[in-house]
């Protein structure tokens, strides 16, 4: 089924409204990806939901990514939004410094974001301000680190009995 909206059209209308908040626009594999300022994410998502032309009003997915090399932009929150009416998907990204990973929670806009944000906090330690119950969800409550950050290796790094150098690991 064809989409009623084009990537350019959506990018233009977001730019017209939030020009100063947009950092970059890209379309990897024909999927509109917009990087925005963390402080403006909440208002952009709210505006997209209430916009009657775009109707991007379904939260498909929310998650984190960790890029240890990019200083002050280590943690990235990725939102996948969807307009079922227009059959259009949009990816919003926003980067946060690992020293102070705080962003506004979107639970007030989408109830479904509740557990997705808890999961992202659980794995990456991203603080969602205004979340009603920001606690760990899949890992145990006493865990004192955020396991999906890149500095935590899957296997015990102190082991000496295994030499995986020749296997590209």
């Amino acid at each position: 089924m064809k989409s009623n909206l084009t990537n350019e059209q959506v990018a233009e209308s977001i730019k017209a409204q939030f020009d100063e908040a947009i950092i970059s626009v890209d379309t990897p594999y024909d999927f509109l990806t917009i990087e925005v300022e963390a402080s403006k994410t909440y208002s952009i998502i709210e505006w997209l939901k209430n916009n009657e032309t775009l109707q991007i009003n379904f939260l498909t997915n929310l998650g984190g990514v960790h890029y240890p090399e990019s200083t002050d932009r280590e943690l990235v929150v990725v939102y996948h939004l969807h307009s079922m009416v227009n059959n259009f998907r949009l990816r919003l990204k926003t980067a946060l410094p690992i020293s102070n990973p705080e962003i506004d929670s979107i639970v007030k806009i989408y109830d479904g974001a509740n557990w997705m944000e808890r999961e992202t906090y659980d794995f990456y330690g991203i603080i969602f301000k205004g979340h009603p119950n920001l606690t760990r969800i899949l890992n145990e409550d006493t865990m004192d680190y955020f396991p999906l950050r890149k500095e935590y290796h899957l296997e015990d790094a102190t082991r000496e009995d295994k030499d995986d150098r020749f296997f590209g690991r």
Partner: protein, 409 residues
């Protein structure tokens, strides 16, 4: 001086506040291990007699860190991880992942392989829905239908076994298609199944669908409105039962779904009965798709020409240098992969199952996130059961088809 036993009794008496003994409100643990929860879910209910006032969920009992595991594994070794998400329909998960990688590397898949995939995916959708619907029957007290359709599910598993050798956690297919063509035995068994299954299914349907007791139990149990379902990011049969006709197979066809003629059933109330009926109709639509795909199965290859990703046949590995090199590169995970990020979704047993993959060109994904429908819609459960009876809460849980493996990743 009191004895030890008396101390314990005194302690217990202290704990029995007004809430439990004298008052009307009691706290009840539904789960984590309880026969009626069909998986490891804990719900701490506050009940006033039979009526549920509030519910608090605990999840994560079988969390296995799939997303972390996936960051250490070459692409072809991630398929077995996806088996363990929704293990009632693992072929859909497997193929969804394979299609994600194919999207990333830009592979063209032959029409025959696509149709073969459609047949396998629809068979597993039937198996998934059969379990869900027959378990709703069990929870209302009708065990007969459950044992009856499980024979048919067994036949579907035998078909999977013919294709890939495994039954539940299938690891079916390869990046690029299938490991072998459908065997003559598969064709025979599929033809038998297509003749026999509709009869059994109609009998099963007549056991429950218009059964007075079943209808009384399920109509109005655990309802959700379309707007609330969308707010909670519902997908799949549960969203369709609330009246939204969204289906990934129609909206963004993958694997040649645009070639087939089928309908999306929708409900109106979003209650247990509607979810049951939507799944029943989806089974019929799946059968329709299988008939179309099987009767029009194109000639051609069952796999794409992707020597860098597709393991060569064993006899070639022993006698052919290129095949040996590719074999080693694939097994050791040294195949170059383009950098990029891709989101691909398929219509799983429970709705839109998404794969968000970021590749930095390395041997493993940089980041792989599974959009697990169960995890997302299970958070609406307290809202759906508040004000309902405990027996309705059990029905709602089974009709949502919450699968612990998919919930906890």
């Amino acid at each position: 001086m009191s004895t030890y036993k008396e101390e314990i009794i005194e302690e217990l008496r202290f704990d029995q506040s007004k809430e439990t003994i004298d008052g009307d409100i009691a706290t009840l643990n539904l789960g984590p291990t309880h026969p009626a929860t069909h998986g490891i879910f804990q719900n701490v209910l506050k009940v006033d007699g039979e009526k549920i006032l509030s519910s608090e969920q605990t999840v994560g009992y079988i969390h296995r860190a799939f997303e972390k595991l996936a960051e250490r594994r070459p692409y072809n070794q991630i398929t077995p991880i996806t088996d363990r998400l929704n293990y009632c329909s693992s072929p859909i998960n497997n193929m969804g992942w394979e299609m994600t990688v194919e999207k990333l590397i830009g592979a063209e898949i032959p029409k025959r392989a696509q149709y073969m995939r459609v047949i396998i995916m629809e068979l597993s959708r039937i198996a998934d829905h059969l379990i869900c619907n027959s378990v709703i029957g069990v929870d209302t007290g009708a065990l007969t239908g459950f044992t009856y359709v499980f024979q048919q599910r067994e036949k579907i598993y035998e078909l999977f076994e013919e294709v890939c050798g495994a039954r539940l956690t299938t690891n079916i297919g390869r990046i690029g298609g299938f490991e072998r063509d459908f065997s003559p035995e598969f064709h025979r068994k599929l033809k038998d199944f297509l003749v026999e299954f509709p009869k059994v299914f109609n009998e099963f349907n007549s056991l429950l669908s218009r059964n007075r007791i079943f209808m009384d139990r399920t109509i109005g149990a655990g309802p959700i409105s379309a707007q609330r379902a969308l707010d909670y990011s519902f997908v799949g049969p549960n969203l369709r039962a609330a009246g939204v006709d969204y289906d990934v197979r129609i909206m963004e066809p993958y694997s040649s779904y645009q070639d087939f003629d089928f309908e999306i059933p929708v409900g109106t109330q979003g209650d247990t009965y509607d979810r049951f009926q939507v799944r029943q109709e989806e089974v019929r639509q799946s059968l329709k798709i299988i008939h179309q795909a099987y009767n029009n199965l194109p000639e051609g290859d069952y796999k794409a020409d992707l020597p860098e990703f597709y393991l060569p046949p064993k006899e070639q590995v022993y006698n052919n240098m290129e095949a040996l090199i590719y074999h080693f590169k694939i097994v050791m995970g040294e195949t170059p992969i383009p950098a990029g990020e891709v989101y691909h979704s398929v219509e799983g047993g429970n709705g839109e199952l998404g794969y968000y993959l970021i590749s930095d060109g390395g041997r493993t994904p940089y980041r792989l996130q599974f959009r697990r429908p169960c995890f997302i819609y299970y958070q609406a459960y307290p809202e759906m059961i508040t004000g309902q009876n405990i027996s309705d809460a059990v029905l709602t849980l089974s009709s949502l088809n919450v699968i612990a493996g998919e919930l906890d990743a």
